[in-house]
């Protein structure tokens, strides 16, 4: 019933359903036409009645009782959500409620009062009690720390310190080990280097920086510029050096270059400062070995043949080789091989610990050799450098030079004809003691002694007569 209207909703429904008489029907029609609210009400009710009429024409089948309900699981999910929402709502309401001022005051003053009481108690009690309290506190702290240690909950600071100390100790040990290894290595390497330098120094003395006096007379040796560098030579002007170089080039020799370093040259210069040679010496970075020229070798062969003939004829004249003004080597006096003299020098060299070097006729070094057999006329040896696999076998030929040196005696250069003797297996031999030659097969060579030279203090070659 609408109180503002002159007619009720039930009357309008009765009117729409045709349950009113004509007078009331006209009355309601007039009211509806005059009132928009009644018009709207009439429209809604008319539509509803039409929908009900249509729905009755197509009635829905009756559903069985309890057939369509949510499962218990779904019901619990929905109702559980309802309870949760309710709980949250209550909490919000509680949190939104204003705090009780009395409770705030109580919460503020209670801890303060407890603290004040504790302070008063501590201040009033005598020193014994105080010390007892301190001891108690210390014990508590100690027990706490012990408990922490037992539980493995020591402080991070202690752990860090321990780790740092351990790391430092490990690092120190590692460094010491590395240093020891490096020291051992460096010591061994330095000793080896020193040995090599000393050995190479002898080579340089004899072959690289020595005056090619074998082909000059002893008297002319002073006139020939010794290529041995000295400290004075280092400071020599370039012009002088070039002159000296030109002189060396004028020797006509094919300069084979030995792989000596600058340091080696410097070391040599220091060692050879005693050499009295006022002429400026060139700074030669690579050692130059005066080769035996082919023609010289041929001449030597001729000489040997001639000497053999002379020997056969009882003549013991020797020949020597001198350099002409054109720089060509010429045989002036060929030193005749005399086994007696050789025998005089060589025995002292056989037992020498100094290494023996082999050179080609052109002065190219062929490395160290080890003498395995010697006679008055020949020396049989093994090339130690042949341990480098792939090194070619030496061809037979003339002019090979063996350099034997001893720290106590002068160095001897032996020139002769090289012959490949045989392939010897050195296993279980005395030489096999060396790791370099162990379990390796070597080719032995024999050099027939044709010439012999000794080096004087000035590193000049003096034929052994």
């Amino acid at each position: 019933m609408n109180n503002d209207l002159d007619i009720s909703e039930e009357e309008i429904i009765s009117y729409l359903l045709g349950e009113v008489d004509n007078d009331k029907k006209l009355f309601i029609q007039r009211l509806i036409s005059e009132n928009p609210q009644l018009q709207e009400m009439e429209r809604v009710l008319t539509d509803t009645i039409r929908l009900v009429e249509q729905s009755t024409k197509e009635p829905l089948p009756d559903l069985e009782e309890g057939e369509l309900l949510l499962s218990q699981k779904r019901r619990n999910a929905i109702l559980g959500l309802v309870e949760k929402e309710e709980t949250l709502t209550l909490e919000k309401q509680k949190s939104s409620l204003p705090k009780d001022k009395k409770s705030d005051h109580f919460l503020f003053w209670v801890p303060l009062g407890i603290a004040a009481c504790a302070f008063l108690i501590l201040s009033v009690t005598d020193s014994d009690h105080l010390s007892t309290a301190e001891i108690t506190l210390n014990r508590e702290q100690e027990s706490t720390s012990e408990q922490d240690e037992l539980e493995g909950t020591t402080t991070d600071a202690i752990d860090i310190e321990e780790e740092l100390a351990l790391n430092l100790a490990l690092e120190n040990q590692a460094q010491e080990g590395v240093v020891q290894i490096l020291t051992q290595r460096s010591t061994i390497e330095v000793e080896a280097m020193k040995r090599d330098l000393n050995n190479s120094l002898s080579i340089g003395d004899v072959l690289a920086y020595s005056d090619p006096t074998p082909f000059n007379s002893v008297e002319d040796s002073t006139s020939v510029v010794s290529p041995v560098p000295s400290s004075a030579n280092r400071s020599a002007p370039p012009r002088v050096q070039s002159e000296t170089l030109s002189k060396i080039q004028n020797l006509g020799a094919d300069h084979s270059i030995m792989l000596h370093t600058k340091e080696l040259g410097a070391e040599l210069s220091v060692k050879k400062e005693k050499v009295v040679d006022p002429s400026p010496k060139p700074i030669i970075e690579d050692s130059v070995v005066p080769p035996l020229r082919t023609e010289q070798i041929e001449q030597n062969e001729d000489i040997i043949i001639t000497e053999k003939k002379r020997k056969a004829a009882g003549s013991e004249n020797s020949t020597q080789t001198n350099r002409t003004s054109s720089g060509r080597f010429q045989t002036q006096a060929i030193p005749q091989f005399q086994k007696g003299l050789i025998s005089e020098y060589l025995p002292r060299l056989w037992g020498s610990s100094e290494p023996t070097y082999l050179f080609t006729s052109k002065g190219k070094t062929l490395g160290k050799v080890r003498i395995i057999k010697k006679t008055d006329t020949a020396i049989e040896f093994v090339r130690l450098n042949e341990t480098m696999r792939g090194k070619s076998t030496l061809p037979d030929g003339l002019g090979y030079q063996l350099r034997l040196s001893d720290s106590n005696s002068s160095t001897v250069i032996i020139v002769g004809h090289l012959t490949r003797v045989k392939v010897a297996e050195i296993k279980n031999k005395r030489m096999a003691k060396s790791d370099l030659v162990k379990d390796l097969d070597f080719t032995t060579y024999s050099i027939q002694i044709e010439e012999a030279w000794k080096l004087d203090e000035k590193e000049n070659r003096i034929p052994i007569k």
Partner: protein, 175 residues
């Protein structure tokens, strides 16, 4: 939910409308499991709703109907119905417009909604509806058939129509 409902009231709404909503959903989608899913979803939305719900029953029916329609559209079942409606309309009027189709669809939804509401009525009320609207009986005739007084028949029918119109209006069927 901000409908100013307590937990007991929410549970009351759930207990009161669980079965009607299940029936309504089943009448639309014709699938029990889907109807359960849709009704559950409706209630969950109802409880999680942040906005204030003035008419919970109308809100629940309207939400469930929309969910059912979305379900039918997803499964392609609503389009077939629409096409059938379109063919019927063409047969009747030889022409169609989109607005009429929409109105027809809305009308069908309203009829289904009313049918659902009638199905939930007591047997006596259903009989009154059938006598009055299907058989076009007068209050006197219905009174004689049912043994009820004419005024009682009128009161009951008026109450049913009034309630239906209120619900349909609340559910925006009469826009």
């Amino acid at each position: 939910m901000k409908c100013d409902e307590t937990e007991s009231q929410l549970k009351e709404w759930f207990e009161k409308l669980e079965k009607p909503l299940m029936n309504y959903a089943f009448q639309i989608v014709h699938d029990r499991e889907e109807a359960q899913d849709l009704v559950q979803d409706t209630f969950l939305r109802f409880f999680k709703q942040d906005e204030k719900i003035l008419q919970p029953k109308a809100w629940l029916y309207k939400t469930l109907r929309n969910l059912c329609i979305s379900f039918l559209r997803k499964n392609g079942r609503l389009q077939r119905t629409t096409d059938e409606e379109q063919l019927d309309f063409l047969d009747s009027f030889n022409r169609t417009t989109e607005s009429i189709l929409v109105k027809n669809l809305e009308k069908k939804e309203a009829v289904d909604r009313v049918s659902h509401a009638i199905s939930l009525l007591p047997k006596e009320s259903k009989e009154l509806i059938t006598l009055k609207f299907d058989q076009q009986k007068s209050y006197n005739e219905i009174s004689k058939i049912t043994g009820l007084s004419v005024s009682n028949v009128g009161y009951k029918l008026h109450h049913i129509i009034k309630e239906l119109s209120s619900e349909l209006k609340a559910e925006d069927f009469f826009r």
